[in-house]
Structure formats: structure tokens, C-alpha cells
């Protein structure tokens, strides 16, 4: 049986592909839960204002820290790779010590720390870290942003008074997308 396409047909096809007008689009895919949460963390960095004293100089990186057992893995590192927020590079750090965690800008507290959550949040009083978590009752216990899953979609609740106490200003863009705003 002859082949369906000839070698010259091949070359014609390649020419056609290369001549076509380029456009920005790609195939739709679903994403994993933590890919979406990683994208949200990047967005929190963009849509929240930290007190001016937090960044004494322009070269200081923006630190996103994971406290406890890391559920993100490579997904978060891929998300922030070579990106900047307000001209600052993004850095991912993994923390186990609360005192050192105070120097973070976004602090994601993993579900492994659920039992100690209240103590961790109390020790963080006075720091400018935005506390983010996805355990049940995170916002009610004083956490600032609480991821929840609703019908397989990642949503989040905002505890506005907790954020204001730390001196953080949350953009109204973020508040309108939030599932719930308390405080």
C-alpha cells in the first residue's frame, strides 16, 4: 500500500505552518489543586500592599514561605520562576521555625501544623506576613486568607481585620473575587 503523503507533500505542509500568522492561545487543561493555589499566592503578592517599611531597598526579594509539610512541590517553584512583583524577584523558602517565619511576606501554613495553628498565629503577632492556609477554620482562628474547595474549584475566604492588624492593605479586586470576607 502506498503511503498517504509524498515527501513533497511533507515540505509543502511545513511551509504552510511556518507562514501562518502567530497568535497567543493554547489548549485548555484542568489544573491540579496546588497549581491553582500557587497561582493565587502569586496574585496575592500582586494585589496586596505591605507597609512601606517592609522593603527598605529595591533589591530585597519578595519572600513566599511554606511553613510545615509542603503540599506545593515543584508547582510553586515553576509558578514564580523568573517572575517579579513590583520589580522584586520572588523567593520561595521552607520554614519550620516560627521566629524566622516572621520575616516572610506571604506565609502559607500547611495542614500538618493544624493542631498548633493558634499558637503559630499568636506568635506571628506584630509581623507583616500574610498568613494563608487551607485547613478548616483557618480564617476563624485568625488566619488572613483561607483556601476552600467548592465544587472542585479553589475559592478563598478573607479575614480582613486580621490583615489590617498586620498593616496589610488588600485591593478591592481581591475582595470582590473572595468567596467570603469576614472581619
Amino acid at each position: 500500500m502506498k503511503h498517504a503523503t509524498t515527501p513533497s507533500g511533507w515540505r509543502a505542509l511545513q511551509v504552510v505552518i511556518l507562514l501562518l500568522m502567530p497568535l497567543h492561545s493554547a489548549t485548555a487543561q484542568s489544573a491540579s489543586e496546588y497549581q491553582v493555589k500557587a497561582a493565587f499566592l502569586y496574585n496575592f503578592a500582586k494585589f496586596i500592599e505591605w507597609p512601606p517599611s517592609t522593603f527598605p531597598d529595591a533589591s530585597m526579594p519578595f519572600r513566599i514561605c511554606i511553613f510545615g509539610r509542603d503540599p506545593f512541590g515543584q508547582e510553586l517553584r515553576d509558578m514564580v520562576n523568573e517572575k517579579t512583583v513590583n520589580g522584586r524577584k520572588l523567593e520561595i523558602d521552607y520554614m519550620v521555625d516560627v521566629q524566622l517565619a516572621k520575616a516572610c511576606h506571604i506565609l502559607f501554613i500547611a495542614s500538618s501544623e493544624k493542631a498548633r495553628l493558634k499558637q503559630i498565629l499568636e506568635s506571628l503577632q506584630g509581623s507583616v506576613a500574610l498568613t494563608v492556609g487551607d485547613t478548616e477554620g483557618f480564617a476563624e482562628q485568625g488566619g488572613m486568607i483561607n483556601f476552600v474547595l467548592d465544587h472542585d474549584r479553589v475559592q478563598f475566604k478573607v479575614n480582613r481585620s486580621a490583615a489590617e492588624l498586620a498593616g496589610l492593605r488588600i485591593s478591592s479586586k481581591l475582595l470582590t473575587v473572595a468567596k467570603l470576607v469576614i472581619g
Binding site: M1, H3, A4, T5, W10, A12, L13, Q14, V16, I17, L20, M21, P22, L23, S25, A26, T27, A28, Q29, S30, A31, S32, E33, Y34, Q35, V36, A38, A39, F40, Y42, N43, F47, G68, R69, D70, P71, F72, G73, Q74, E75, R77, D78, M79, N81, K83, Y94, V96, S112, E113, K114, A115, L149, H151, D152, R153, V154, Q155, K173, L174, V177
Partner: protein, 655 residues
């Protein structure tokens, strides 16, 4: 003619996201993305108590995969054998010729599709779903009977199909390839507020090749040349409805393949020698939280048929040709329920139960074709209970342990445990120690073979067992790479083997074989932010039978190597997918050694040309390497030559 279609670009803007471009998604878009759950509980691959590989829809398009077997060829530990009828898979050195893929469990959206007569999982073009409807495939290597029961012996393969939201209205696809091959697909998907509707239909036709078999090179059998016997056609229909926590899915699949090898003693070069396989199912699933528990319940009904007329070559010239049949008919109903919750800090418990009623497991009557069936004397009922607990002993060390008890009305009960210790030594380092048991239940054709008068029944057949111990390490290297490797030991007991019974010189399936495998695998995966990604893996397995002399198993390649690379040529718009697979030497049934081979495939994919179209061109076995797979017991050929270079063009439109 389709060149004109490509050049006619239309103007509607149409933005969609890749997982890589999530950082460009707006807040609203992020809140609307439907997230999938990995395996049976939400966890990243590093946390899974097994060795997991995920192949995404993006890779399926960029590497030009045609069916599930093409996908499995790229996975470490797997190798594929094609006999010009079905595609069979071997895992970690075990691919015994004559088996029916019953030692791997294949699921579609969690629904088991191994049929209940041969235990066969369909993998090649006979797979039940169009590869373009696949969202991703999760391949879990290692015994998983502690969660899934029978057939989860070497691996569990879960094929997750695309949802209505992912399809976004209409999609059309057309392919043309070598050997007179045409394929077409139409898909419709839409999310209406709470109701998701997805409907897809595919048809495929191929004239096949004119083939030469040296064993038949004589004047009486057309000098070994067989024409118009390698044909293939199939149709699939997939429908999925989602409404709140409910998912209703229906699937219809039928495939007709001509068999050119003249198996089972058939007449050579006769197009009447063919297989018609069909499988249909309906399944209803419900997921919802109840208090702190997550509930997942479902029920389904399956029907699988094979009609395979075989024109038997007459033993004496001048005798009439007898038409016998290799066929079966199976119906089964399944109900399952699973609940899971976080019990206390760092502890997640899963409990489940499954019941399966084999309403019908009939084999075709060899002597009275084509519509007579021999009903199996005992139709069977299977009930099962399982439990799994994931326990965080410390913030770095997790123990994942579980077991499942299956009760079969045929052979009684079997309990299969599994335990895994997962240690996150550092932010980028994970160590795993995995132990598991699994079983493979005796299939109907082994209990009561229907191959004629020289086969005895064996109602005392017990399941086969495997015990597996594996140590794995996964290490992130720098920003872009990950290195993973493992060593494992498999011990298989009570292998169901066809033996000759001394008392009456007949054949009977008995639990009478043992096999051992000691192996290692290592894999490097990498991904750069510009879209360059790839993986390379190397496997080595020593698999042998425990009888005296430790003979090597047939169809077991020692070393295997694979390479996959996606090179973005023009941003996201044009990419090249390159694949290479190397397979070591294998023994055939006659103990001949088939030489090792390497095959390369290349696909060029032009993405969203004119806003709506994708265009792909693929070359399979681009170097036209001549290579063979071993023949099966029913084939007169000891080695069967595989395809040389073949080409394919595919155009897809999204509206």
C-alpha cells in the same frame, strides 16, 4: 484542500489557558478552574504511596499518541507487544505470551474496564476511548490490590476523560495516515450553569497492509503473502453528564480487526478471519461531603462481547473449511461506596466497599458457531471491603497502610495488604519504602476452557499472588530537573499455567508456576519555563522462573531505555515532540532470541493556527527500523514483524 481551510482564518478571540500560563490568568479565571484529584485522594505525586507517572493531554497532542498503548510505551517499566490483532503490555519484566493484560487494571474515570471473561484490558486501537478525549492518564506501578482488588497486580492505569468545561463547545478532528487510514471525531461540550454535557463520537477505518509471513511461503498459501486481511475499523461514542455531585457516563465502543496471522489454525490469507470486539457501559457516580466525611458512591453496568469467526484450515486437502469461533459474552454489574476524612491532625482515613455481580460470563461454543455460547457453570459474585490510612508520624515521615478483603463465590477469600513509608528528607528529597501484595483472580477461560475436547476444567483454581518490595528516591535537581530511581523485588506465586495432565493426556490450567523479578529503574525529568520539557529513563530487570535452572521468562527484555523531548520551536505555536524507545533482547515461545531494537517517533504540532485550528504531522518509526515482536501460543509465527515507517496528518478545529 485543507490548505485553503487553514488559511481562512476567522476573527473571534478565543482565550484558553495552559497549566503553565496560570500565572497570566485573572482572579476570576483562577476561581473557575476545575481541579482534579490525584489517585483516590488529593495528593501530589511525591506523596503517593507508589511509583506514579502522569501523562497529560498536552503531551498526548505533542507526541502524537494514537492510543493508550502508545502512551504506555513511554512509561518506565512498560513494554508493548502487538500480534496484528491486539496489543499486550508487559510490566517490569513480566509479559508472558498467552496472557490477556489481566495483570494490569485499566480504569476509565475510576470505572474498571477489564472484561469478565478473559480479564482483558484493551490498550491499542481497541482501547475504548479516543485518545483526544483523554485529559490525563495516571499510571501507578506496583501492586494496588489493597485499594482496587483483582487485576491491580503490576499496575493500575486510570484514564481520566475531559469534562464539558474543558471542551468549550465544538471540536472536530480529521486524520489521514499510512496504510489507507482515516479517522474522524466530533465532540460537543458545554457547561450550562450546573449541568455539564459532553458528547463525542469517533470513527476509524484502515485498509491495513499487505504482509509477508515466511512460514507460509509455499504455492498452496499464496507464497506467504496476505492481502486485505490486516484491515481495522472502530467506532466510539462517549457521553458524560455532570450535575452537582452526580456524574452519569455512557460509553459505546466497537472494533473490527482482520487477523492476518492465521491464528488458531485458520486458513491463510482469508479476510473472513476477524475479531469484532464491543464494550458498552453506563455508570452513575455521586460525590458529596457529609459532615466531615467525603462520600463517593457509584453503580455501573457493563457488557462486553467478542465475535471471532475462524475459518479452520482443513487437515486433509479437499476437506471442507470448518468455521469455528473464538468468542465470548460478558455482562456485569458493580456497586461501590467509599468514605474518607481527616481523622485527626496529619491523619486521613479511607474506607470502602465494592460488590460485583458477574451476570453472564459465556464463552463461544467452538463446535457450534456463530451464536451458540457455553454458559459458565458458576457465575460469580465478588464482594470486597477495604481500608487505608495515611498517617503523618512526624511532619516529615508518613505511613500509608491499607488492606482489602475480596470474597469470590468461586474460590473464596483473599486479603491483600500494602504499606508505604514516605520520608521527606529535605525540601526536594523524598525517600519511599513500599511493600504490597496483590492478586489476579482466575478468569473464566482458565476455570472452564472452551477450546475443545482436549481441555479439562479446574474449579479449584486459586488466584495468583504477587509480593513486592520497592525502595525509591526522588530528588529535585536545581530549578528545572528531578531525578527519581528505585530498586524492586517481585515474587509471583501460583501462576496459572497450562499443563498437561498425566491421567488423561488433556490440558488443564493449574496454579503451578513461580516467577521472580529483580529490577531497577531511573528517570530524569526536566521542564524549562519556555516550554522545553522532557524525560529520559532506563530500566533493567532480571525476570526468571523458579523452576530448576532458573530459566529466563519469555518476552522479558532485560534493559529498556526511553527518551521523550518536547522542543518549542515558535513559542507556544509550533512544537516538535521526539520519542525514542530501546528494548533489549527477548525470548520467544520457541526460545529463540529476538534482537533488541530502537524506534523513534517525531510529531510536529502547530497550535491554534488561525485561532481555531491545530495541525499535526507525525512520523512513527521514522528511521524505518525492521523489528519483531514474539508470537503468541495461538499464532503459527514465532516472531511477527512490526510496522515500518508510517505517517499521519491530523487537523483539529475548535469553535
Amino acid at each position: 484542500m485543507w490548505l485553503l481551510a487553514i488559511c481562512a482564518a476567522t476573527a473571534t478571540a478565543f482565550a484558553q489557558q495552559t497549566a503553565k500560563d496560570l500565572s497570566d490568568a485573572s482572579l476570576e479565571e483562577l476561581s473557575n478552574i476545575q481541579v482534579y484529584s490525584a489517585s483516590k485522594h488529593m495528593q501530589s505525586a511525591s506523596d503517593a504511596p507508589a511509583s506514579v507517572t502522569v501523562v497529560t493531554a498536552d503531551e498526548i497532542q505533542k507526541y502524537g499518541y494514537r492510543n493508550l498503548a502508545d502512551i504506555l510505551r513511554s512509561v518506565p517499566g512498560f513494554y508493548v507487544t502487538y500480534d496484528r490483532d491486539y496489543t499486550f503490555v508487559g510490566v517490569r519484566g513480566f509479559g508472558r505470551l498467552g496472557d490477556w493484560n489481566s495483570r494490569i487494571l485499566v480504569l476509565i474515570d475510576g470505572h474498571r474496564i477489564n472484561n469478565n471473561v478473559l480479564g482483558q484490558a484493551m490498550l491499542g486501537n481497541e482501547f475504548l476511548v479516543d485518545v483526544d478525549m483523554i485529559e490525563r492518564v495516571e499510571i501507578v506501578r506496583g501492586p494496588s490490590s489493597s485499594l482496587y482488588g483483582a487485576n491491580a497486580f503490576f499496575a493500575v492505569i486510570n484514564v481520566i476523560t475531559r469534562t464539558a468545561k474543558q471542551v468549550q463547545d465544538w471540536e472536530f478532528s480529521f486524520q489521514r495516515g499510512s496504510f489507507g487510514t482515516d479517522e474522524g471525531r466530533a465532540t460537543y461540550g458545554h457547561q450550562f450553569h450546573d449541568l455539564g454535557v459532553l458528547l463525542s463520537g469517533t470513527f476509524y477505518n484502515s485498509s491495513g497492509q499487505t504482509l509477508f509471513f515466511p512460514q507460509f511461503d509455499s504455492p498452496a498459501t499464496n507464497y506467504g503473502i496476505t492481502r486485505d486481511t490486516d484491515y481495522e475499523s472502530y467506532k466510539h461514542i462517549l457521553a458524560t453528564l455532570t450535575f452537582h455531585g452526580f456524574t452519569l457516563q455512557g460509553l459505546f465502543s466497537t472494533r473490527d480487526k482482520g487477523v492476518p496471522t492465521a491464528y488458531f489454525g485458520a486458513v491463510f490469507n482469508d479476510p473472513a478471519d476477524h475479531n469484532v470486539d464491543s464494550h458498552q457501559y453506563v455508570s452513575l457516580d455521586y460525590q458529596h461531603p457529609i459532615g466531615k466525611w467525603q462520600l463517593d458512591a457509584g453503580t455501573s453496568y457493563d457488557q462486553a462481547r467478542l465475535q471471532g469467526p475462524v475459518p479452520e484450515a482443513p487437515s486433509m486437502p479437499g476437506d471442507p473449511i470448518v468455521l469455528s469461533t473464538f468468542s465470548f459474552r460478558g455482562n456485569w454489574w458493580t456497586g461501590d461506596i467509599k468514605v474518607s476524612r481527616d481523622l485527626f491532625e496529619r491523619n486521613h482515613l479511607t474506607l470502602g466497599s465494592e460488590i460485583r455481580d458477574n451476570l453472564r460470563q459465556d464463552q463461544g461454543d467452538l463446535l457450534n458457531p456463530p451464536n451458540a455460547f457455553t454458559p459458565v457453570p458458576n457465575s460469580s459474585l465478588i464482594t470486597a471491603l477495604y481500608a487505608q490510612d495515611e498517617f503523618g508520624i512526624t511532619s516529615r515521615l508518613t505511613l500509608n497502610a491499607g488492606f482489602r478483603y475480596d470474597h469470590y463465590s468461586t474460590f473464596g477469600g483473599t486479603t491483600n495488604p500494602r504499606a508505604a513509608l514516605i520520608f521527606r528528607a529535605a525540601a526536594k528529597t523524598t525517600l519511599k519504602l513500599l511493600y504490597g501484595n496483590a492478586f489476579s483472580a482466575p478468569d473464566v477461560y482458565e476455570i472452564s476452557p472452551d477450546f475443545g475436547g482436549f481441555y479439562d476444567n479446574n474449579f479449584k483454581l486459586q488466584p495468583e499472588h504477587i509480593q513486592s518490595l520497592e525502595a525509591r528516591a526522588e530528588q529535585g535537581l536545581g530549578e528545572h530537573f528531578q531525578l527519581a530511581g528505585g530498586v524492586y523485588r517481585n515474587r509471583i506465586d501460583d501462576l496459572i499455567t497450562l499443563v498437561q495432565v498425566s491421567s488423561d493426556e488433556n490440558f488443564q490450567y493449574q496454579n503451578s508456576g513461580n516467577a521472580d523479578a529483580l529490577g531497577m529503574d531511573v528517570e530524569v525529568t526536566g521542564r524549562a519555563s519556555n516550554g522545553l520539557q522532557g524525560k529520559a529513563s532506563f530500566d533493567y530487570v532480571d525476570a526468571y522462573s523458579e523452576t530448576s535452572g532458573h530459566p529466563q521468562l519469555n518476552n522479558s527484555p532485560g534493559p529498556m531505555a526511553k527518551l521523550n523531548l518536547i522542543v518549542p520551536l515558535i513559542d507556544q505555536r509550533l512544537s516538535a515532540g521526539v520519542e525514542g524507545q530501546f528494548l533489549g533482547r527477548r525470548l520467544t515461545l520457541l526460545q529463540d532470541s529476538l534482537s533488541s531494537y530502537q524506534v523513534f517517533n517525531v510529531t510536529l504540532l502547530g497550535h491554534t493556527i488561525g485561532k481555531h485550528l491545530d495541525l499535526a504531522a507525525s512520523a512513527f518509526n521514522i528511521l524505518n527500523k525492521k523489528y519483531f515482536d514474539p508470537g503468541r501460543p495461538e499464532d503459527p509465527e514465532d516472531a511477527i514483524q512490526q510496522d515500518g515507517r508510517s505517517l499521519r496528518i491530523k487537523i483539529t478545529g475548535r469553535f
